[in-house]
């Protein structure tokens, strides 16, 4: 099937080389970075209001991290050679840094999770019997010291790891933006703003995902949602979405105002092929509506019933998750809809449901971290402090939804 072309495209440029998988990859990586930033707000910056999700967001970050390589492996033409990128990297390639960035960050995440949950792992190893005991004893790595002094040391290490983790998370995701920003052949990608936009939208998607996942997790566990936790995250989300949308608009405005050679094709791209996914989804539905919802939640939060606040926050978060996905789509797919001849646009790209890199594969990849989280919950008690507080009757009506 040869796609229709408007204008003139180089003959090889009518094919979409980077499919839905390369849209999903920066999306999932963004969730890694964003969820980690949320956990760091608690572990490093001492935002005590975030205590119910300090551990949850950290483990969520790990779950997204494990899945982050899946879209890449599914996309590679020769996945059996994937390790070559780590074993024999080409130092001049922006992509070769992936092995380093990914492994470094994975190491920090695993270490931090281990230190945060060490006490629980040791307790579980002591309390349980049989296979369960073996599992937890293995996870404890042979050290059962949970004296106050040892735990204080753990706490220090966690703070240091989280502090190292913040620049690492920024680097990991800024790097993903750099993969695109460094392609001088493509004027839609090749801007210095690209890594920064990717980074900020990653933080937006991470906070939004945590707001939603926290509420869903509490509903599933029958625990109250802490009002101040949601209110704090909503404030951060509002700030970061304003920054992100400003940057996204600045990029377009700069391109339009400079009106250099590439603007002719980019303006045509935006007004035809991307008119729906850029203006309707990314800007109006995805940015303007959540901006208003979040503004209401932030400014009137005090007078609002907790349930209303939670619903508004969840709705804004859900829309922002779509906004960030559409932004990834508009960058990755949009950048391949026009030819490097700068004279032609191909048909809109429509992925199929069942193809190898199609919609089903994308859904599996996005749902997989949630499944992983449910499994992790069996081993790592992410909401122990919430459960204890609830059992002790310390979660008062004022803090909870009243659910």
């Amino acid at each position: 099937m040869i796609p229709e072309v408007l204008g003139y495209a180089f003959p090889n440029d009518i094919h979409i080389t980077w499919s839905l998988m390369i849209v999903t990859y920066p999306y999932v990586t963004g969730l890694v970075a964003g969820a980690f930033i949320v956990s760091s707000l608690y572990h490093v910056f001492n935002r005590k209001e975030l205590w119910p999700i300090g551990r949850f967001s950290l483990v969520a970050s790990l779950a997204f991290m494990i899945v982050a390589t899946w879209p890449l492996l599914n996309h590679l033409g020769q996945p059996q050679r994937a390790m070559s990128i780590m074993i024999t990297p080409n130092p001049s390639s922006a992509m070769a840094g992936f092995g380093l960035a990914y492994n470094w960050y994975l190491m920090i995440l695993v270490l931090e999770v281990w230190f945060v949950f060490r006490k629980d792992i040791v307790l579980m190893a002591r309390q349980s019997r049989g296979l369960k005991r073996t599992v937890f004893a293995t996870l404890a790595l042979g050290t059962y010291d949970i004296s106050d002094a040892a735990l204080a040391k753990d706490h220090k290490i966690v703070t240091v790891l989280a502090a190292i983790g913040i620049p690492s998370a920024c680097f990991l995701h800024g790097y993903v933006g750099f993969l695109f920003g460094a392609i001088k052949a493509n004027p839609w990608w090749s801007t210095a703003l690209m890594p920064i936009i990717f980074l900020f939208s990653a933080i937006v998607s991470g906070i939004a995902a945590m707001i939603l996942m926290y509420q869903v997790a509490m509903l599933l566990k029958g625990l109250p949602i802490v009002r101040e936790t949601v209110a704090t995250m909503v404030r951060w989300l509002w700030l970061f979405m304003i920054l992100t949308v400003t940057l996204e608009l600045l990029e377009i405005i700069t391109l339009a105002y400079e009106s250099a050679e590439e603007w002719e094709i980019i303006s045509l791209l935006l007004t035809t092929r991307l008119a729906f996914s850029f203006f309707s989804v990314q800007l109006v539905f995805g940015s303007l509506i959540p901006f208003i919802l979040l503004m209401i939640t932030v400014l009137l939060g005090g007078q609002m019933k907790p349930r209303v606040q939670n619903i508004l926050a969840a709705a804004a978060s859900f829309i922002l998750l779509i906004q960030v996905f559409s932004m990834r789509w508009n960058v990755v797919i949009g950048g391949q809809l026009f030819s490097k001849s700068l004279k032609g646009l191909r048909d809109p790209f429509q992925p199929r449901f069942f193809e190898k890199e199609g919609i089903l594969a994308t859904i599996v990849i996005i749902v997989a971290p949630l499944v992983l989280l449910v499994l992790f919950e069996k081993v790592l008690p992410m909401f122990r402090s919430v459960e204890e507080a609830y059992a002790a009757g310390r979660l008062t009506e004022d803090e909870s939804t009243g659910a």
């Binding site: 003139y8 003959p11 090889n12 590679l76 033409g77 700068l342």
Partner: protein, 262 residues
């Protein structure tokens, strides 16, 4: 049974480990010339890549748009349908400066005449091919070093090493590369491009497209051969390259390159 003295053992161990280090440092790879290797199974006894540096010359004033070069390339290199390693573009520019460009199937079957759609002020054909850049962005971005530039100036892909990520396809400003995911083809999932018919060059022959061109619009130059007439043309005539602002330093040179051509 042999008794090995400690002295003997140490001496042999030192020799073996020294040999290992030498092997690892000097390696089985670089030998200073390709004269002892093979390429695509062809022995390279008579070919020394230090003695050549290939460049390409396109005289756009000669091209008649017959598409024989595209056909020749497709047959020589088994290029799959829907993709090209070389192609020809037709430019028709009207009196008001309005322009139209086309290249149906990469001009595999030549061109049909456009009738009466505008008043054409000038019209010309532009053959395109991998520019075998001196600073190739595709080589820069390859995460595993599977794509490389040979000493005689040809950008190639090691199909046994390519991971099929497609980054080189994105990085090439000229649309010279492609990657097909059609699993019925043996080249599926491996980056493909013009090899400047390297398998022919090493046997002292020219490329399939140059050989197929009936009017001499496409010519191969050896920049190390002082008696090469094509080299002389590149050096002495006024030639242009595509998208020079990207500083990829293309080694495919054009005579009479119009400003409309990218």
């Amino acid at each position: 049974m042999n008794n090995v003295s400690r002295r003997d053992f140490l001496r042999k161990a030192a020799l073996v480990s020294g040999g290992c280090v030498t092997f690892l440092v000097l390696g089985p790879g670089e030998k200073g010339s390709a004269s002892t290797g093979t390429i695509g199974g062809v022995p390279l006894e008579d070919y020394n890549w230090n003695e050549h540096r290939w460049a390409y010359l396109v005289d756009t004033t000669r091209c008649i748009g017959c598409g024989m070069c595209v056909k020749g390339c497709k047959e020589e290199n088994l290029v799959p349908d829907g993709y090209v390693r070389t192609w020809v573009e037709r430019y028709e520019i009207g009196e008001e400066g309005e322009g139209e460009v086309d290249s149906p199937d990469g001009a595999l079957y030549g061109f049909q005449e456009n009738v009466g759609h505008m008043k054409v002020a000038k019209s010309f054909f532009v053959p395109k091919i991998c520019n075998h850049c001196e600073k190739p962005p595709c080589v820069q971005v390859c995460p595993v070093g599977a794509t490389y530039r040979t000493r005689d100036g040809v950008v190639l892909v090691d199909s046994n090493y390519c991971v099929g990520c497609g980054y080189c396809v994105q990085a090439c400003p000229y649309g010279a590369r492609f990657i097909t995911h059609d699993r019925s083809l043996s080249i599926a999932g491996i980056a493909q491009k013009c090899t400047l018919c390297y398998h022919r060059l090493v046997k002292g022959r020219t490329t399939a497209c140059v050989e197929a061109c009936p009017v001499g619009a496409r010519q191969l130059a050896d920049m190390r051969d002082t008696f090469d007439p094509v080299r002389k043309r590149i050096l002495t005539e006024r030639v242009g390259v595509l998208q020079p602002e990207l500083l990829t330093e293309p080694q495919c040179f054009y005579i009479a390159l119009d400003k409309e051509v990218r």
